[in-house]
């Protein structure tokens, strides 16, 4: 198997195979916690932590895990890290923990982590798996932040809780409600894919010319 370079890992995680926009994973939490930017940021940070360390651990144990029970092992590893995040939030950021509600515990069901463990960490060395986890987490967080930025700005007229839209601003109630998340996420996916398509066609056109 060809050696994977660090550069590839971050381009893949953030742009080319972005877990949310391209692979459409982790949508549930992307819809649920994006009504405010601070929620989205904490959720993203939690996910980066869990993905990175789970992939790291899975990768270390990959030679010693029997193939037929590897999924159970992965779930055990992931849940251990999720519990750490949950306890940490409860202790140091009780308000955020309340605002996120069950979604912290539900990080374990986030397909991104399981997917990366299965696809990447099972086949690669620990150090690069750790990086892969971080960059996939960042890719997820970036999308969440964009969606949350638009939803909070339109729905509450604020940016990280600071009012920015002035006195006459009328809140778009639909943006705070779940339907608003669907529309915003769809717009983001739409936008990113349009840009990517253009990029790809110009790339392939360049190749043809080079020949």
């Amino acid at each position: 198997m060809a050696k994977i370079k660090t550069k590839d890992v971050w381009i893949m995680g953030i742009w080319k195979e972005n877990p949310v926009v391209i692979q459409v994973l982790g949508i549930c939490s992307a819809l649920a916690v994006t009504n405010r930017m601070d929620n989205a940021l904490i959720m993203g940070a939690g996910l980066i932590f869990v993905t990175a360390f789970s992939e790291f651990t899975v990768s270390i144990l990959r030679m010693h895990t029997p193939k037929h029970i590897r999924m159970m092992v992965q779930v055990l590893i992931i849940s251990a890290f999720v519990i750490i995040v949950d306890i940490y939030l409860k202790a140091y950021l009780p308000n955020a923990s309340k605002a996120l509600g069950p979604y912290v515990g539900l990080i374990i069901t986030n397909c991104i982590i399981m997917g990366r463990c299965e696809v990447f960490a099972q086949k690669n060395r620990p150090a690069i798996s750790f990086l892969d986890g971080i960059f996939n987490g960042i890719g997820y967080t970036l999308v969440l932040m964009v969606v949350a930025f638009a939803r909070e700005l339109l729905g509450f007229g604020t940016f990280f809780g600071i009012p920015v839209m002035g006195q006459g601003w009328m809140n778009w109630v639909i943006m705070i409600m779940p339907p608003g998340a669907f529309f915003m996420l769809a717009l983001v996916v739409w936008g990113v894919n349009t840009v990517r398509e253009k990029q790809e066609t110009s790339e392939s056109a360049g190749e043809v010319k080079a020949r």
Binding site: I174, P179, F183
Partner: protein, 320 residues
């Protein structure tokens, strides 16, 4: 001007007839609420065409005249005092997410005007549900005024709000002629029915859809108004107040989101009518037509599927 129009718009006879049918209600809205109604219609139609143009311009396609109809219907479903930016935003949203995202004219699952209305109805509840305008008075009605007088008593501003909040009932004559406050095009029963007669006579709208919606609405509200008269208005009052007639004539009849089989059309209409009664009587919202149409749109293709399935089975039974 005519050249320019020809270059950018498809000619669609049915949609042109739809525009003629909407004309009485549109003129009525100016007469009742003032010249601002024209401004609202203008903004709505302009942005509807612009939103569609953004999507069709790449392939050199032309804007369907359905966009004009959608813009006009959306404008007529707004209250007269609605801020213009809400109109522009709402109709752009409706066109993009209700129509163009599904592939443009002919393939939309939801009625774009209703998608637009649901969006603003939920988002901006104060300007849409609480800022009503009274009827303009004087020899020239609204044609000599920019906007009718403001209404202070919000809880009894429109026939539906009055019934829901105070149990008060407006005189029937006023409801038939339309000089009560409400959304721009929905108030006058007479003007809407003129449009309906024209549509049925020219066969531009299917009478089954209208009949289905009327049947569903009248049957259920007759039963429920006897059981719970404080919650559900009697069928005649219910039909004349709010946007029931407007919806029945101009919105449920939109051919693309409606089923194609004739039995399906009837069932679809009835579903919409029944949901209107339920939402008006038992939900938080005073007016249920918007959501009723959305619900019916959702089940439209399924109704068609079901009808075709049963018709096939019947044929088989007869053949054997």
């Amino acid at each position: 001007m005519a050249e320019l129009y020809k270059k950018h718009f498809m000619k669609q006879k049915m949609m042109e007839r739809m525009l003629w049918a909407l004309a009485p209600a549109a003129l009525g809205s100016v007469w009742f609420f003032g010249l601002r109604a024209l401004l609202v219609m203008g903004v709505s139609v302009l942005f509807a065409c612009f939103a569609e143009w953004l999507f069709v311009r790449k392939n050199g396609g032309r804007i369907s005249e359905a966009a004009l109809v959608t813009g006009l219907i959306f404008a007529l479903s707004m209250p007269p005092k609605v801020p213009l930016w809400i109109v522009a935003l709402g109709i752009s949203f409706g066109m993009v997410f209700g129509k163009m995202a599904f592939g443009g004219f002919g393939t939309n699952l939801f009625n774009p005007a209703i998608a637009a209305r649901a969006f603003v109805y939920i988002s901006f509840s104060k300007p849409i549900n609480a800022d009503w305008t009274g009827v303009a008075t004087g020899a020239f009605g609204g044609f000599s005024k920019f906007l009718g007088p403001d209404i202070q008593a919000v809880s009894s501003a429109t026939p539906l709000l009055a019934f829901k909040n105070t149990g008060e009932v407006f005189p029937y004559m006023k409801l038939i002629l339309g000089n009560v406050s409400g959304s721009m095009g929905e108030t006058s029963a007479v003007l809407i029915l003129i449009g309906a007669a024209y549509l049925i006579k020219t066969k531009s709208a299917d009478w089954r859809l209208m009949a289905g919606m009327a049947t569903g609405f009248f049957t259920l509200s007759a039963i429920l108004s006897l059981l719970q008269p404080e919650l559900v208005a009697n069928p005649i009052y219910g039909a004349l107040s709010g946007s029931f007639l407007f919806t029945m004539v101009f919105i449920v009849t939109e051919p693309i989101s409606a089923p194609k089989t004739s039995k399906g059309k009837f069932i679809y209409g009835m579903l919409a009518g029944v949901v209107v009664v339920i939402i008006r009587g038992y939900a938080l919202f005073t007016e249920g037509t918007t959501f009723a149409i959305l619900v019916a749109n959702t089940f439209g293709p399924l109704v068609d599927e079901g009808v075709r399935h049963f018709e096939k089975r019947e044929k088989k039974v007869i053949a054997s």
